[in-house]
Symmetry: C2
Subunit: 566 residues, 2 copies
Amino acid sequence: MATTPDTPYEQQRAERAALPLHSTMMPLPLRVTDAMRRAEQLFPEQGIVSRLAPGVMERRSYADIGREARELAGALRELGIGPGQRVATLMWNHGRHLAAYYAVPAIQAVLHPLNPRLSADDLAWIIADAGDSALLIDADLLPLLEQIEQQVRIPHVIVNPLPQQASPGHTGAGRHDWSQLLREAEPLAQWPHGPLDENDPVSVCYTSGTTGRPKGVVYSHRSILLHGLGTALPDAFGLSGRDTLLTLTPMYHVNGWSVPYTAVMLGARQVFAGAHVRPAEVLDLILQEGVTAAFGIPTFWTEVLRALEAEPQRWELPRSLRIYAGGSPPPADMFRRFDQLGVSLQTGWGMTETSPIAHQTWLRPHTDTLSETERLELRTSNGLPLPFVEQRHVNDEGQPLPWDGSSRGELQVRGPWITAQYLSLPQARSATSHDGWLHTGDIVTIRPDGYMRLVDRQKDLVKSGGEWISSVELENALCDHPAVREAAVIGIPHPTWVERPLALVVLRDGHSTTAADLQEHLGARMPRWMLPDRIEFEAELPRTPVGKLDKKALRTLWGASNGAAT
Amino acid sequence: MATTPDTPYEQQRAERAALPLHSTMMPLPLRVTDAMRRAEQLFPEQGIVSRLAPGVMERRSYADIGREARELAGALRELGIGPGQRVATLMWNHGRHLAAYYAVPAIQAVLHPLNPRLSADDLAWIIADAGDSALLIDADLLPLLEQIEQQVRIPHVIVNPLPQQASPGHTGAGRHDWSQLLREAEPLAQWPHGPLDENDPVSVCYTSGTTGRPKGVVYSHRSILLHGLGTALPDAFGLSGRDTLLTLTPMYHVNGWSVPYTAVMLGARQVFAGAHVRPAEVLDLILQEGVTAAFGIPTFWTEVLRALEAEPQRWELPRSLRIYAGGSPPPADMFRRFDQLGVSLQTGWGMTETSPIAHQTWLRPHTDTLSETERLELRTSNGLPLPFVEQRHVNDEGQPLPWDGSSRGELQVRGPWITAQYLSLPQARSATSHDGWLHTGDIVTIRPDGYMRLVDRQKDLVKSGGEWISSVELENALCDHPAVREAAVIGIPHPTWVERPLALVVLRDGHSTTAADLQEHLGARMPRWMLPDRIEFEAELPRTPVGKLDKKALRTLWGASNGAAT
């Protein structure tokens, strides 16, 4: 080494070089409550619109909802609800449910949205598992609560009266009237500066339990806001403070895909559709409220398309409208039909365990040269993992498989908004592999360029003579037939092949076809051994409480096997 | 309270209710190195294009840069560079500088980009203050290093040869040739799974030091990635993996606005313009490479507009092009001229202390009904704070002022990518108020709807008879005159008024005007007491090393006062 100059700078450099360096950044935690404080300050006039009943609209603002959240927080605190305690909700999508999303974490309690479409027995089980101390409930759901209370009673129940109903006067017996309680309580003067740990819990949701009992997943301030930033990116939902967002996904289903949190973070206008909304009402809402992006399950969008096509002159959807469909894969035909309307449809992948959005299906630049058919094929895939989400798929021995577009294995994911375990289960990593990746139970392929495609739920695969037949592939192929509205495929026991596929088909109104015609349609698309042994025509198919096909019910009905996985 | 049912569910609920709840989310840290690992896996073919010299283009990919980063990390480790040690760079914008951005944190060392436009004396001071242990340098900057080495010597120097130059054979005396060193080193086989603490440092940058000595700000994995998520949002830069990003902001200036980190997180294609790029070359790059978004200071965009207008037939910019200008406020005229070209121009606010983007100027929906003039007025403001950034402005006593659009006070900000202190300064909160808000030294107004507008730097205000005159307002008004290309206003001592404004004006080529004409132009826009006492015409104005107007130099030249604030 050359001579080192003997200067003050050189001495200082050498001394400093031996010292460690630390970040100088402010050590501020991420907190959902800060997002509402910011919205109250920056976007007070921005609208929160709720359809409370057919034709009954409630128009409020971030200033209103922020204040109501602080009032509700004060009221809950006066009832004795403290940090870490669980406050359940049995509510539809509307502004007061949004207020609850922020009131509960404001006192460091934990929000627990309950699904009113579950049975009273399931709900009692979930309430007991979560240990709920209070319940916020829409008045029309009180009959359900009475059934639940045969088995378990929540000490404090706050009743939100029906729209335009005078106060129901629910007092005594632990019952409180929402308006009266808030009127009498001292609201929080300002949003708290706690918790200081962003890993503190905000909300707990239960898996929909298509296998076994529901399992609880607990989200934190950090996970909700990182998920919010990730899903707001242009390659995911592309959310802006200029948007008007229509959340059709129930707020009791994985926090309504967390859109109610993300929208507040961005100051976006929000539209909530309340209970039992019909497709025609949704179309009216989209036009009347200037909705720019809407979120819901494919089944509902199928109904919306039927309504549109039944009255082609009635609605003209804005060409900038974006629709995000998830929960199950939208069929290729749905993309084609929305394309024709100039509406952008995008899907992805996720589950309760992933907050829920882990993947979104955007087209990378190298796909711009593909044909329309190839691009459509890609758009129906489950897409690419969001930033900070990692994906792999593994064989039965847990070995990672190649990204070759054909190897099939269980999808496993990892990331800061993905659960490591389930509430109340004793194991430390009850949800993951030994090396910390979430077991998703979904069988997938991954292309060399990273696009993931769901082949089937592990338990929905038809095990035929050592080969696996994907029920999803058969269903999608059947739905591509012009006469078919919907299809479900299940495995039924077979003496030689263990299982063979049975297809249940619902036809479009005014269309007809035969089983032989459908077999021919399928035969042109897939090998002979994959074709169903039987095709039955049905008037409709059973659904789970969140609107998915209820294959458990179909298997019971058709005496099918239970699938290999649990 | 009504009778509580004596059921197993009820017992379980009550027991569970007494227990605290914890998040079940994976405790994974945010790490910039994971972003590059993901890009190598998901976007290996995506391009990193560098202009190394006029006409000399280097075309590489994320796979190439990721591998080179792991090679460089291995080489640095073999030189003995360990966790927490500082690795400086003296490099232009290109792919190897990007590799260094990831190689250094891969061994948990800290990147320290040096500004080659500073004097050797300033650089020696900064190197001593940071305690740098190694330096990566472009070969054309070796003469500067020789000057620096009169005062301070960095033990390990790795020389990146000039483009198309054979290895310069810089061996011995602590000098290493980049290619040779990497060839002989063992690359990291994979990206590390450390550090486990996302608050560990990644990079240190120094303020540009328009007042006093430069001060170091240390960014962490967490701050860089949260800033990346925040700036990628649709209301900020709206960045996508479909974008091709041209970073004209130097990578030694606040990490090139951190775009090189954010782009990797998203898998966006990147174009780097190397050293001494001219406006015509930039226009060629935009067209040839299909640039969708470009980042740079207003001064440069002024030159680009001049080049465009000098040869109106030569370039037709894509109408989807987005330009983000920052560092100083772009004049209204620049918005008008880009609007005419169908190019979107957006500004905001930030500084080294804020990573740097704290604000962006997007138009909220309630402004859609404003006139074009009013919207333009708003677009020239400094916008709204990003999610997780809070703003306030305070009077001399530190009291928050009302958001009324007219009260003037010092802007203070707070957030997870904002510094709390400066490197090497002894005070715990050297950068902030007693309650933890960053002192920005910028005098601003804030509208009731949150839009912030820079009135002036504290030190650039002209103190005239107890009133403050904004040099920025006068400069913007002068630039709105068709003959004016550029203007600078400084305060010069006055026996009665303490200070009075002096305006220095550069005319557009082929235009002429008089001081009297300009006074009339100004007189139509602002009160008489604000008008400059003198207007002088100049051929050009002095600039700081980062391209901003050098008011310190102007004040020395014109015998002006130094301003009240330091």
